[in-house]
């Protein structure tokens, strides 16, 4: 039974981390390799503010705000100049941003591993398993975020614009949508999602400048497997979460991470368009 709960948490973590990458890839066709570095910035901001006596929730909000601002700055200084360039250029540039951010954090805060206390301590007993309340909170938050996002994309006018830009960017521009602005906002929103992921996951693991970097390759592959659909993202995260949990249970976490990556590489070769339901 414990494995099932581990799997649910693992899927939630993958969703939380990949959703920001997902919107950026879907709307801008840019792979943001600085995503986990943004998460690290968020968690260090959280650490900084809790260190100054703020409570956890305020610090987390501040962490998200800092990351959002950082996203806007990176977009203005770098990403804006890469629209329409070759995909390897955007990969390299955002990877460079990631190196810079991680090193700045190392210089400012040192490379030692620290931690932040979870705001919700304790656990509940459910079906004979002890479940951490904070983990349940993360799963609930992720579920809410994904559901809200699906609703926005499906029903709101903003969602309609998003779908237009995703399917046919030049045509959307042709009918008068300021696609440049949509893409700018998208990058900033992606950074905000990274901030959310970083601040939420902060209490669940050790914090160092390379925070979450082990998740970069697998979430990147998950987003590619999503086929740029939210349902596909859900599907890919479930697959990766299950693989991760099973290989961790019967092997070790390192092997599990390697296996997730290998699985994704194989899946992407067999289904280059991603894990999507065929539409007929």
């Amino acid at each position: 039974m414990g494995v099932v709960f581990d799997a649910i948490f693992s899927v939630s973590v993958f969703l939380l981390v990949s959703i920001g990458l997902f919107v950026i890839l879907g709307l801008m066709n840019i792979v943001n390799l600085a995503h986990t570095a943004f998460m690290a910035v968020a968690v260090y901001a959280e650490l900084y503010f809790t260190g100054h006596g703020w409570n956890f929730w305020l610090s987390a909000a501040a962490g998200v705000a800092v990351t959002t601002l950082l996203g806007a700055i990176v977009e203005f200084a770098i990403v804006r100049r890469l629209y329409g360039r070759h995909i390897d250029d955007t990969i390299l540039a955002t990877w460079g941003v990631s190196l810079i951010l991680v090193q700045v954090l190392a210089i400012a805060f040192g490379s030692t591993t620290t931690s932040v206390a979870p705001p919700l301590s304790g656990s509940v007993k459910f079906l004979g398993e002890l479940l951490s309340i904070y983990r349940i909170f993360i799963v609930a938050t992720v579920a809410t975020v994904v559901a809200a996002m699906a609703a926005v994309i499906r029903f709101s006018k903003a969602g309609l614009i998003v779908r237009m830009v995703m399917t046919n960017e030049p045509l959307a521009r042709g009918v008068g949508i300021n696609t440049g602005m949509v893409q700018r906002l998208t990058f900033v929103a992606g950074a905000a999602f990274a901030g959310l992921a970083g601040t939420l996951l902060g209490p669940t693991q050790g914090i160092s400048p390379s925070f979450a970097s082990s998740l970069l390759a697998s979430t990147f592959l998950i987003v590619l497997m999503s086929g740029r659909r939210l349902s596909g993202l859900l599907f890919a995260c479930v697959a990766a979460g299950l693989a991760q949990t099973l290989f961790s249970a019967y092997g070790n976490p390192v092997i599990a991470n390697v296996m997730v990556i290998c699985t994704a590489v194989v899946v992407l070769r067999l289904k280059p368009e991603g894990l999507i339901w065929p539409r007929h």
Binding site: G96, Q103, A106, F220
Partner: protein
């Protein structure tokens, strides 16, 4: 302009080579043991950098995991010259020279073989350009943590150490690595300047077009990917034998990124630039990274961002160009580089009177998704004839050509090519079809923007056979009719101009020249006269007649009906995905069926021209 650049490039190459040799020689004279070893180490990095440049800069493959091959070479040497306990502790290290050489050879072969497998897997048709980047990144990201899982061979977390080859002094190591670097550099310079190097640039510029010239693009990419891996493995083996240490970070993404920075700083697509850049960064970098370990990594990131965003050509090439201009003066005149010479005629038997079929098409159906374009095409194309396919927009003319030159398309019906033996069309790839002598000229010119006119024609003449990896052809032997096409379309004096600078009409001429230069037996020409003036059109018409007379089967898609009447042997009318009527031009012009179905659109078409 391009010609001037070409010769300036030669001078640049000489200058840089001199600088490289000079650096190699003077470094040892400094005599400082630390600097000597540092240089020797950066030479091994430089080998890795130029091998990455071959893959990334020349063939355009975004290789984000090149460290893997370097690591494999290093690990082979480490693993074969140490004995390790079950838990990864190094028990004994060191071996005789033969073992080191053998280990290096194993490393090179293993790296090449693994890269070939990865390449075979990743460079499938239909896999995006993006996929190999993902695979490289994923492999490096997976290899680094996986390293610690096999302590029996890798030494686990601590890695392997203490196995440096004892037989060389510092100075000897220096000379050995310098010699290997110079050999690899020379080898790669010859390779990229050869006709094969041209093919690599063509793949980078426009993969699809290379396929239609008869080349198996996947095989080229796998070969280059594998060669790059082999050289990186060699660099890793040399590094390991010299340093006597190997650990997980050598496999990781950070090291792979560092290699990309070396290449990007030195200038992608210049072999010498990355070599010099790596040595410079290695020298400066080690001093700086020793003094400021954290800031150095920060600097790497900044360099990567700045170069990608602002200095795409790299840092060294603009400096070198400035130097060359200072030495030569700006008005330097270049020599003519390549020229066309009359080669043998196309080896096609003269048109036989029996007029047997070259292509038999029956019941051909094809759809783009839900859009049914071809709905049962029945047509026989005869050997040596000039057949024009006419019909209004959307009739399926271009699609018919698309399907006939790509058997891997998902079509239904019978198509057979009768060139010698009867060959079923179904499932045959574009390059196989092109090699069998069936080529096409694209409706919208599809060229290699960075390559000159002469280079286009040179590639076309190979018709899918791999060109020489060391020879650089200057006199390109072409069928006489290619020279005529070049003269007619104004290409003759512009052989050294790059395709990006050509006007639409001239680019059309080049498309046609390429198609014919492959010495085809069947040519599909999609609107060869589009964008040409009336005079030029008349010239092209004459050339097409010459082609047909020489025994080549010419299938033409055309809108201009006057033009069609003047040159065609037969005309096929395509309407809503079916062949409405086939016959002599005069017969078609008189046909009531055609008139009935087409009157409106025919008149409009005439009015257009």
């Amino acid at each position: 302009m391009a010609a001037a650049l070409a010769s300036r490039r030669t001078v640049l190459a000489c200058l840089s080579a001199a600088a490289l040799v000079g650096a190699a020689m003077t470094g040892a004279l400094i005599g400082d043991a630390y600097v000597t070893m540092l240089l020797a180490q950066s030479f091994t990095y430089a080998i890795a950098a130029i091998s990455l440049d071959l893959v990334w800069g020349y063939a355009g493959i975004p290789e984000l995991g090149h460290s893997l091959w370097f690591g494999i070479g290093a690990l082979c040497v480490g693993s074969m010259t140490t004995s390790v306990s079950e838990t990864g502790g190094v028990l004994a290290a060191g071996a005789d020279a033969t073992t080191y050489i053998l280990a290096a050879a194993v490393g090179v072969v293993l790296a090449a073989a693994m890269a070939a497998i990865v390449g075979w897997y990743a460079f499938s048709r239909g896999a995006t350009h993006f996929y190999i980047a993902v695979v490289g990144l994923a492999l490096a990201a997976a290899a680094q943590p996986a390293y610690s899982q096999f302590p029996r061979y890798t030494g686990g977390e601590g890695g392997l150490f203490g196995f440096a080859y004892e037989g060389f002094s510092n100075a000897e190591w220096y000379y050995v690595s310098a010699a290997v670097l110079l050999c690899v550099t020379a080898f790669l310079i010859v390779l990229v300047r050869s006709d094969f190097g041209l093919l690599l640039r063509a793949v980078r510029d426009n993969e699809r077009r290379v396929r239609y010239l008869g080349f198996n693009v996947e095989r080229i990419k796998i070969a280059i990917y594998s060669l790059g891996a082999a050289l990186a493995g060699l660099a890793g083996a040399l590094y390991a034998a010299m340093e006597g240490a190997v650990s997980a970070p050598l496999f990781g993404t950070l090291f792979a990124t560092e290699m990309m920075v070396w290449v990007a700083v030195g200038g992608r697509g210049t072999i010498l630039g990355p070599a010099i850049g790596t040595i410079a960064l290695g020298l400066g970098g080690s001093k700086l990274s020793a003094a400021f370990p954290l800031e150095w990594s920060l600097f790497l990131g900044l360099a990567l961002v700045l170069i990608v965003v602002f200095f795409q050509a790299g840092v060294l090439p603009p400096i070198a160009r400035g130097l060359a201009r200072a030495v030569l003066g700006s008005g330097h005149k270049a020599e003519q580089n390549r020229s066309l010479v009359a080669g043998r005629e196309t080896a096609v038997p003269a048109r036989d009177a029996s007029a047997s079929a070259a292509i038999e098409i029956s019941g051909l159906f094809f759809a783009y998704g839900g859009l049914r374009v071809l709905r049962g095409v029945n047509l026989e194309i005869l050997k040596g004839e000039l057949l024009c396919i006419v019909g209004p927009n959307g009739a399926g003319k271009s699609t018919l050509i698309e399907v006939l030159t790509d058997g891997a398309r998902n079509f239904a019906g019978q198509v057979a090519f009768l060139l010698g033996d009867r060959v079923e069309h179904q499932g045959r790839q574009q390059d196989v079809i092109a090699r069998s002598g069936v080529v096409r000229k694209f409706q919208v010119p599809s060229l290699f923007p960075s390559m000159t006119v002469a280079e286009h024609i040179l590639l076309a003449t190979s018709n899918g056979r791999w060109p020489s990896v060391w020879r650089r052809t200057h006199a390109i032997g072409v069928p006489p009719v290619v020279e005529a096409i070049c003269a007619a379309s104004g290409l003759t004096g512009r052989l050294e101009e790059v395709a990006a600078d050509l006007s639409h009409g001239v680019a059309q001429g080049l498309e046609m020249a390429m198609a014919v230069a492959t010495r085809p037996r069947i040519v599909f020409m999609d609107e060869p006269t589009a964008g040409l003036s009336a005079v030029e059109r008349a010239v092209v018409g004459d050339l097409l007649r010459v082609l047909a007379k020489s025994g080549i089967t010419v299938v033409l898609v055309e809108h201009d009906l006057d033009f069609v009447e003047r040159i065609a042997d037969r005309v096929a009318v395509l309407h809503e995905g079916r062949v409405l009527e086939v016959g002599a031009p005069s017969q078609i012009a008189q046909s009531d069926v055609v008139r009935g179905a087409y009157l409106g659109s025919f008149e409009l078409e005439k009015g257009d021209h």
